[in-house]
């Protein structure tokens, strides 16, 4: 029953991921054809600069005119692995207009303009798939969108950025400071020359927006995601975490409120107990916990980045989109019917670990405790350490809203006896 006319694929971008997609399309051509029900053919590869020799890719297929490629009219599927907002957005939109379905790995674009792109796909009866945009090779979008389609997801909690996990893991295991660990990550190729997108949490925030939208069947944009990077995490924070039986991870957390009417999405460093499965996620690996009503706790773990793993996800989507194409149908589109409110960070409820530098004299603890009480933040434990007239107070709270905690901290800063707030870290996963 094999159809002989091949499905034509245009590849936009031929970097680390794109070249791997092209390679697998060639070396695994027979398997892909058998699984799809028709051969797939690489019909064109758009790059920024020609001239570079690309092993295994016919030079005649390579072009710098991506626009002409997506508008050719005979392209069945456009694979976009350029990244960034433009020209990717314009090219994807043009692809739909010219009859192609799209497979993308572009988290930034999906997080910012997912709704518009889904609408364009729907208008033209085409597919938009993007498993590779979140957590590399780990199947996550499809399980959330399809496997859990009959369940109610309440929480998604995970490590979705390999670069920062590598750095934090290094700080944890060696006692190194942030800069030292970052330097090692850069030297080993885990961090880019400009690591801002990773270490400031922009990358993880884009993934959180995508995951929250799919998990809760509502629209969550990048701007809705509270974001705090991990550049200020110190070796001292790791020592504090260890004293609590915790480590520190940069987490993406998407939660449904208790009453079910609103959701929150956030990215920030947090202490998690060593007994939590996410605590043992090492190096550049990713792992995501999903909690739902019926399924309970699920975890998905694997390599979150890299050419081959990302290509695996892209090709899985390519097979699905090609099958849909042959069947004259499309897969599930955007599901945003629930239309829930995205609440601000102030409404998030969690626990906090606060280190204060205080004067080493009687009555300080009473003053500090009073401030917490006045803001309705209940204290779980306090630890005092004094030396040479200076002292530190480490307070771990019970669950409180982020707004109450912020109010508490603001008031603490005004106390004469509080010299400074050394660190504030959320405590998750308990």
């Amino acid at each position: 029953m094999m159809r002989t006319r091949p499905l034509k694929v245009a590849l936009l971008g031929c970097g680390v991921v794109g070249s791997e997609v092209a390679r697998i399309m060639t070396t695994h051509a027979d398997d892909l054809a058998a699984r799809i029900g028709a051969p797939v053919e690489l019909a064109g590869v758009a790059v920024r600069r020609t001239g570079k020799v690309r092993e295994g890719i016919d030079p005649a297929l390579v072009t710098t005119d991506a626009t002409a490629l997506v508008k050719r009219g005979d392209i069945d599927v456009v694979v976009e692995v350029i990244g960034g907002i433009e020209p990717a957005r314009t090219l994807i939109t043009a692809a739909f207009e010219h009859g192609a379905s799209v497979v993308s790995a572009n988290k930034a674009l999906l997080a910012q303009d997912g709704a518009a792109l889904h609408a364009a796909a729907g208008e033209h009866g085409r597919d938009l798939y993007y498993e590779a945009a979140v957590a590399g090779a780990i199947p996550l979008i499809r399980p959330l969108r399809e496997s859990l389609a009959g369940d109610k997801v309440n929480r998604v909690l995970g490590i979705v950025n390999g670069t920062t996990n590598f750095i934090l893991d290094k700080m944890d295991s060696t006692g190194a400071g942030y800069q030292e660990a970052l330097d090692e990550a850069t030297a080993l190729g885990y961090a880019e020359a400009d690591p801002t997108a990773d270490v400031e949490g922009f990358d993880a925030a884009a993934k959180a927006a995508i995951l929250a939208g799919i998990a809760f069947h509502t629209r969550v944009r990048l701007d809705d995601v509270y974001r705090e990077g991990m550049t200020e995490v110190t070796a001292a924070d790791f020592r504090s975490a260890k004293e609590m039986g915790c480590t520190i991870k940069l987490l993406a957390i998407c939660e449904r409120s208790k009453d079910g009417t609103s959701v929150t999405a956030r990215v920030h460093p947090a202490m998690i107990p060593l007994s939590h499965p996410l605590a043992s996620v090492r190096g550049a690996y990713n792992a995501v916990f999903v909690e739902s009503d019926a399924a309970g706790q699920l975890m998905f773990y694997g390599p979150g980045a890299g050419g081959s793993p990302t290509a695996s996800a892209v090709l899985g989507d390519l097979v699905a989109v090609c099958r849909n194409r042959l069947n004259g149908t499309t897969g599930p589109g955007e599901s945003a019917y629930a239309d829930l409110t995205v609440s601000p960070m102030g409404e998030v409820v969690t626990r906090y670990h606060i280190s204060l530098d205080v004067a080493d004299k009687p009555g300080v603890l009473a003053q500090v405790a009073t401030v917490f009480a006045e803001h309705g933040v209940s204290i779980d434990t306090v630890r005092q350490q004094g030396k040479d007239g200076e002292a530190s107070l480490v307070v771990v709270t019970h669950r409180a809203s982020d707004a109450s905690l912020s109010g508490t901290v603001e008031a603490l800063r005004k106390l004469d006896t509080v010299r400074g707030v050394a660190s504030i870290m959320r405590v998750e996963g308990e």
Copy 2:
């Protein structure tokens, strides 16, 4: 764009899983309708005995005549959660003949007759989905069949039976023997009154057959799976495992041969290093590792059984099958094009931990080592312990074929100085 005519669902079986499916279909009706694009209606529930009050289910829907229900002709989807070979097989076949798609949680049937059932589904242009048949709520069939459709899977290794994992975890943490741990599992409802299917590995073997078939795009039947239960695992085995920095798990292992032309599937207890993520899978949880060319190592973790988790998987499939139905299409069917040989256990290559009771006199080790050498099995480490004229020898081998190891053990038994072979355990996950 909501279609108003509801899709009609017939539920076969209303036990722990079925009643939960019915409950969620009722309580989450609006969500399911929004996600599918049409309402779904419970059109009938087939049970063995009527009379029992089933909370939330209209008694008028309940029937003991499952055959009449699937043959009604207006049923869009049959959900089969009866289990066992018959009458499930006849009912599912009749469902296809009368125009329904099928969602099943029946691992035994799928492992035995999957090919015939897929053929029947294909002949009538209907879907056969069965995510719930393997590892409960954990999305595994869909990720293997769809997310990794562009990749080449080389190995699937996992804990796919919660009952035995509960028992082994208990033995590991308390030092209890098998019977004591089984009694506790039975008392807590983790083991059935007749635990044979679980403890003898039949349940895990059925799942291994299903996983191997999907992972390698070939047919693997239950009879192709080597199976060894865990009833002979002793407290002494756990002590030996601990000395090696290992624990013992009942594993399902499906592997592609190095040259890619054949596969093996097996279920047996094995030692795995404590550092392996599967070692920390506690209680009745399941977890499955998947290794593929491009994606690398992925892990899927979650509750492997129970009414709610299994219902979550069933409902995910129900949503997918209903969407396909509305689109007038079907999802991916059986993919067995690779048509690989399933090799016997003798060809499996792994490491072994062998405990021998030997005479405590000079020359025994030399004799034993000679037997290993004669069979081409290379020894990694040997540990001797002597007491009162008796001694034990613990041998850990390098990688060797199961046939070579069996030959070795047979020859060892014939040595006068070997009083007995106390245990043979495979060592995996290194």
